[in-house]
């Protein structure tokens, strides 16, 4: 298994441009998440999905959109890039086990710079 893969690894955008951050997992996990990580701020949840066709907002959804047409893919869309969206973006999927145990697998991240 490749686990969680993200593309691109790094991107520079101009203000007002749009782009899609790709995320794919091959572990057949239902739960998938998008986080952003700013220096010294930990990880903030942007959007999440509990299965194909179901998405919901996290803590910081403004300026982003997601879709989940398949179990494997969970792309994150930025429509009008702003400097405040400069960050490192992580996609993750979760394997839930019995007894409340779970394992969250993170992708390697996409570093985005908006100028």
């Amino acid at each position: 298994n490749a686990g969680v893969t993200q593309t691109p690894k790094f991107r520079i955008l101009k203000i007002g441009q749009s782009m899609t951050l790709q995320c794919t997992q091959d572990m057949n996990h239902n739960y998938m998440y998008w986080y952003r990580q700013d220096p010294g701020m930990g990880l903030k949840l942007i959007y999440y999905s509990v299965g194909a066709g179901i998405t919901d907002k996290g803590e910081v959804p403004n300026g982003y959109n997601v879709s989940r047409s398949t179990t494997e893919d969970f792309p994150l869309r930025l429509e009008l890039a702003a400097p405040s969206q400069t960050s490192v973006y992580f996609c993750a999927s979760i394997l839930r086990l019995a007894g409340g145990m779970e394992t969250q697998y993170f992708g390697p991240g996409t570093r985005l710079l908006v100028l």
């Binding site: 969680v4 998440y33 986080y35 010294g40 701020m41 930990g42 990880l43 903030k44 949840l45 999440y48 509990v50 299965g51 179901i54 919901d56 996290g58 803590e59 992580f90 993750a92 007894g99 409340g100 145990m101 779970e102 394992t103 969250q104 697998y105 993170f106 992708g107 390697p108 991240g109």
Partner: protein, 116 residues
Amino acid sequence: TQLLEQSPQFLSIQEGENLTVYCNSSSVFSSLQWYRQEPGEGPVLLVTVVTGGEVKKLKRLTFQFGDARKDSSLHITAAQPGDTGLYLCAGRTIEYSGAGSYQLTFGKGTKLSVIP
């Protein structure tokens, strides 16, 4: 919004020393996870604790979940340079919204440097 506070924010120690980092909240979590993140990479799960008072050991790392499930600690014995990284704690709250969704709340992390 649930808040997880981690302390200290930064820690620099010599190889062979012991250390403890803390994760505290005023909220109750159904489970709590610890991650280690190295520069340029995503976080990697170290452990999940689910029962109040639970203690788990992973080689030289000892994790404890508070009795009230509001706090946790990570103790490292005889730290090594390979332990260097950002340690994140994350608490799980369960919010049901029809779809049975749930979210993890992350702390800001403790940046550990172990000097050879």
